[in-house]
């Protein structure tokens, strides 16, 4: 296949996976809509002190006295359909990513610019969701994750799209591969954790609601634990990305392992906020609500760093945001800095 063919394959696959995500979202909406008016049987999920798996009617099925047999079967079917469609969409998105890498000459990893980062980021969010679906009983998360992935994909396609181009040289290093893979995996886990923390806050405010989406969320303790697990997974990976491979790569490319470059500063801020989240969970008075708020602050700094800093800061050396490659600049009067070309 020619590079151009790969590129158009990638574009088509992005469109296709967007469509399939949308269908999956519809399926889940049907699933939840059927249960909208049905009250959650008193205490169906709140009394059990054991690990409440999922804790929603879809999982409880016919046992739930509030739901009649056909409704239960229908919702379960749509739930499964939604999950299946999500799996397909994730696979198609993987094709889009691989094709994107194949379209470049020489072939490369698909993260040379913001469009590709965002494509990869949403892929990892969806992928982790699909993988952890059973382990952590994430059925309740479906509508939120899908909405998130779709919205971000849309932003990527509309505003961030850039044609395939080779990597600038500073970016072609195997440390880049390790660094970016781990940063993106952590971003995916933190994003799912952030979603869970947000739902925790909603649920904790109205734990006694009996109808609607909120009623069918797992109990706050379960949400809190799922959120902790996602963060506990993400934090070491983030540490590895930001404080080990990042500095090693920076040292090789820019001659100093820590430059206080805005990207680095914000990665550090994110790290510190998540460290604070982990502390908060074990500090009396900060458990629960405050910890969840900290997790959301963490998500905000994470995504601000991922996208926002490229537009607000003019001194970042992370040149994929559109700045000139570092090699053009000579630090001397009159020579444009990295930033003057990136502005």
């Amino acid at each position: 296949m020619t590079d151009a063919a790969w590129e158009s394959l990638s574009n088509q696959a992005v469109a296709a996976c967007g469509l399939v995500y949308f269908l999956a979202l519809l399926a889940h909406l049907v699933e939840w809509a059927a249960l909208r008016k049905v009250p959650v049987a008193a205490g169906s999920a709140s009394v059990d002190s054991r690990d409440v798996p999922g804790g929603i009617a879809v999982a409880t099925g016919p046992d739930d006295p509030g739901v009649d047999e056909p409704t239960a079967r229908r919702t379960a079917m749509f739930g499964r359909l939604g999950y299946l469609l999500t799996c397909i969409a994730v696979a198609v998105q993987l094709v889009a990513l691989v094709a994107r890498g194949m379209a470049a000459d020489p072939n490369r990893v698909p993260w040379g610019n913001m469009y590709e980062f965002t494509l990869t980021g949403t892929f990892v969010v969806a992928f982790l969701y699909v993988v952890l679906y059973r382990r952590l009983n994430l059925a309740w998360m479906a509508p939120v994750v899908l909405t998130f992935v779709l919205a971000v994909l849309m932003v990527a396609v509309t505003w961030l799209y850039a044609p395939v181009a080779p990597l600038t040289e500073a970016l072609s290093s195997y440390w880049l591969v390790i660094h970016v893979v781990s940063a993106i995996i952590a971003t995916g886990a933190f994003t799912l954790g952030g979603i869970t923390s947000a739902l925790y806050l909603v649920k904790a405010r109205r734990p006694d609601t009996t109808t609607g989406y909120v009623a069918r969320l797992p109990q706050p303790e379960v949400l809190d634990r799922v959120s902790y697990r996602l963060h506990a997974f993400g934090f070491p990976v983030w540490t590895f990305a930001v404080l080990i491979t990042g500095p090693i790569w920076a040292h090789q490319a820019w001659s100093s392992y820590w430059n206080w470059d805005p990207k680095e500063v914000w990665a550090f801020i994110t790290w510190v906020v998540y460290a604070a989240y982990l502390h908060a969970r074990t500090t009396a008075g900060w458990k629960g609500r405050n910890a969840a708020i900290l997790a959301l602050v963490g998500t905000a700094t994470l995504w601000f760093n991922f996208i926002g800093i490229n537009y607000f800061s003019t001194t970042s050396q992370h040149s994929y945001a559109g700045g000139a490659p570092a090699l053009v600049t000579a630090e001397a009067p009159g020579a444009g800095g990295v930033s003057s070309a990136g502005r």
């Binding site: 181009a165 090789q252 001659s255 206080w260 801020i269 510190v272 604070a276």
Partner: protein, 541 residues
């Protein structure tokens, strides 16, 4: 959901490996004597809550440095910003906002955090050693009150069940409470290493900081523009650097005595595709000696492939062109040579000046632009560069005569002309007199000033050299921190109790588990233990 008191008791009562966190003290300071006040302050500084607040403060304090240009990161940008904001600048300077990361208030936060850390870690380590030798605590009176528990009846005699429980738990690598005659319960605990992980992690944070500080205090970073070719070389001492940024405890005698020349430099230009005009690869062939009497070696210096000599690393971070320009003055004396021009954009349009302070009858200064592949834009009426690759190079310069101001003794940039006492050469019609030259061409200046010739093109590299002592300490520190963190997050500290009780027609076996990290799935642990206890019975029957 409130925790039953038994659970709280099981969790917090025993001086075990897990309860090493200092207790929160919430008495108010006014009610205390001086000694107590000191103790109270120490308690506050080392409390979890303080650590949390300090962490958040650290995050907040790091923000300004990402918004306001930092002297240590981009000094040019900082000085530009400062001249754009004359009112704010003095205020910001007072607050240290141009070098946030070594400002007193930023340092204060992390030093406090470190103090808190030490104060937190030392007692924990002490408690931990004591806890290591402690036995798992005895079973709480009522296992049924723990959140995760199960029970089943069996016909086996109690001793058999207990014996099996010991075997099963030992098989799962639990530590058991020493059995005593008449015990009706087994107590088991595992996950002791979690605390070690936590301690290692926190201590490693200190190690990283030490490594980082060593680099900042004793290291340096400097840059030099060096022409490509055997005729030019660099040897590592202060006088050879164009810019030099030492740490506050840097000592010049610690500089490694190496030297090198750039024998060859090549660029792999992209000529097609969306990034046409960009360079894909750069490579410099160095010949270097680690010390004056060491053998000469060679190294291919590339982006992402620095040359390391001891603690010092040599990087290729930029390149550009140095047109060879010769000025022959009115009396036939020549001056000039390869002159470094600085690139201003991606197609390497470059600016530079040539000075001939000794020229007769008057000093001559040339200022102009260099285009590696020249093109003319009708729109702007000026030349520009199509490409960084020198396919059709040209220089275009203006001529200044008069006093270049080089005798005053004040240092002058080699990239700018002091034009205060000069006049620009003009054509009879008043338009600027411009010399446009391609390699090999020369032009005779009017008024008997002399000639200017463009004899050829050379290249230069911008080399950055940095010495970062302590970088290995920092690296080892973070790696240890990561390992500790993994232990701390994923080793689950658990206690399991199995109790047997004779009732009417057999034995009732109760199993309960407790996870002290708050993230564990103890229900599954109980199920697992129960299954293991029952499985064997079925095997035998």
């Amino acid at each position: 959901m409130s925790t039953p008191p038994e659970v709280e008791k099981a969790r917090d009562d025993q001086p075990s490996a897990f309860s090493t966190r200092p207790a929160d003290d919430d008495r108010r300071a006014g009610e205390l004597t001086f000694r107590e006040l000191l103790r109270w302050t120490w308690r506050q500084v080392t409390s979890m809550r303080t650590a949390l607040v300090l962490l958040l403060l650290l995050a907040l304090a790091a923000i300004p440095g990402s918004i306001i240009p930092q002297e240590g990161v981009d000094s040019l940008k900082t000085s530009n910003w400062q001249s754009d904001h004359p009112k704010l600048t003095p205020v910001y300077e007072k607050l240290g906002l141009f070098s946030v990361y070594d400002s007193p208030w930023f340092s204060a936060i992390y030093l406090l955090l470190m103090l808190s850390l030490v104060g937190c870690i030392l007692p924990r380590t002490y408690h931990y050693w004591r806890g290591l030798r402690a036995q798992p605590p005895a079973a709480p009176r009522n296992l049924g009150r723990l959140p995760d528990h199960a029970s089943y009846p069996t016909s086996e005699p109690p001793e058999v069940v207990l014996e099996r429980a010991r075997a099963v738990l030992r098989g799962h690598r639990y530590r058991l409470r020493a059995a005593r005659e008449g015990d009706a319960a087994v107590s088991a605990e595992r996950g002791y290493l979690r605390e070690v992980g936590n301690l290692v992690f926190h201590l490693s944070v200190l190690v990283v900081l030490v490594g980082f500080a060593l680099g900042g205090l004793f290291g340096y970073k400097g840059g030099v523009i060096l022409l490509v070719g055997d005729d030019y070389g660099f040897s590592n001492n202060l006088t050879q650097y164009d810019d030099f940024d030492p740490g506050s405890l840097f000592r010049a005698d610690k500089m490694e005595p190496f030297s090198f020349t750039i024998d060859d430099f090549s660029v792999d230009w992209l000529l097609t595709g969306p990034r046409a005009g960009m360079a894909r690869g750069f490579e410099s062939r160095l010949s270097y000696q680690e010390s004056p009497d060491a053998p000469e070696k060679s190294y291919d210096l590339k982006v992402n492939h620095p040359l390391s000599i001891g603690d010092t690393d040599v990087f290729l971070i930029g390149h550009g062109y140095a047109p060879v320009i010769t000025i022959t003055d009115g009396q036939g004396n020549t001056s000039g040579g390869p002159t470094v021009f600085l690139p201003v954009n991606q197609s390497f349009q470059s600016i530079g000046v040539v000075k001939a302070p000794d020229a007769q009858p008057t000093q001559i200064g040339l200022e102009g632009e260099f285009y590696p592949t020249v093109a003319f834009s009708k729109q702007t009426g000026s030349y520009y560069s199509l490409l960084g690759k020198p396919l059709d190079p040209m220089i275009s310069m203006l001529v200044y005569t008069g006093d270049l101001g080089m005798d005053s003794g004040a240092p002058q940039s080699v990239y700018a002309l002091d034009k205060t006492h000069t006049t620009m050469l003009t054509k009879p019609n008043g338009a600027p007199y411009r010399i446009d030259l391609r390699p090999g061409e020369s032009v005779k200046l009017p008024n008997g000033l002399g000639t200017v010739s463009f004899d050829g093109l050379q290249e230069w590299n911008k080399i950055q050299i940095s010495q970062t002592p302590g970088k290995w300490i920092a690296l080892v520190g973070v790696v240890l921190a990561l390992i500790g963190l993994l232990g701390s997050l994923f080793i689950r500290p658990r206690r399991v109790w199995v109790r047997v009780r004779e009732d009417g027609d057999g034995t009732l076996v109760e199993v309960a588990a407790l996870d002290r990290s708050g993230g564990g799935d103890t229900a599954a642990v109980v199920d697992e233990v129960v299954a293991a206890l029952q499985d064997r019975r079925e095997d035998r029957s």
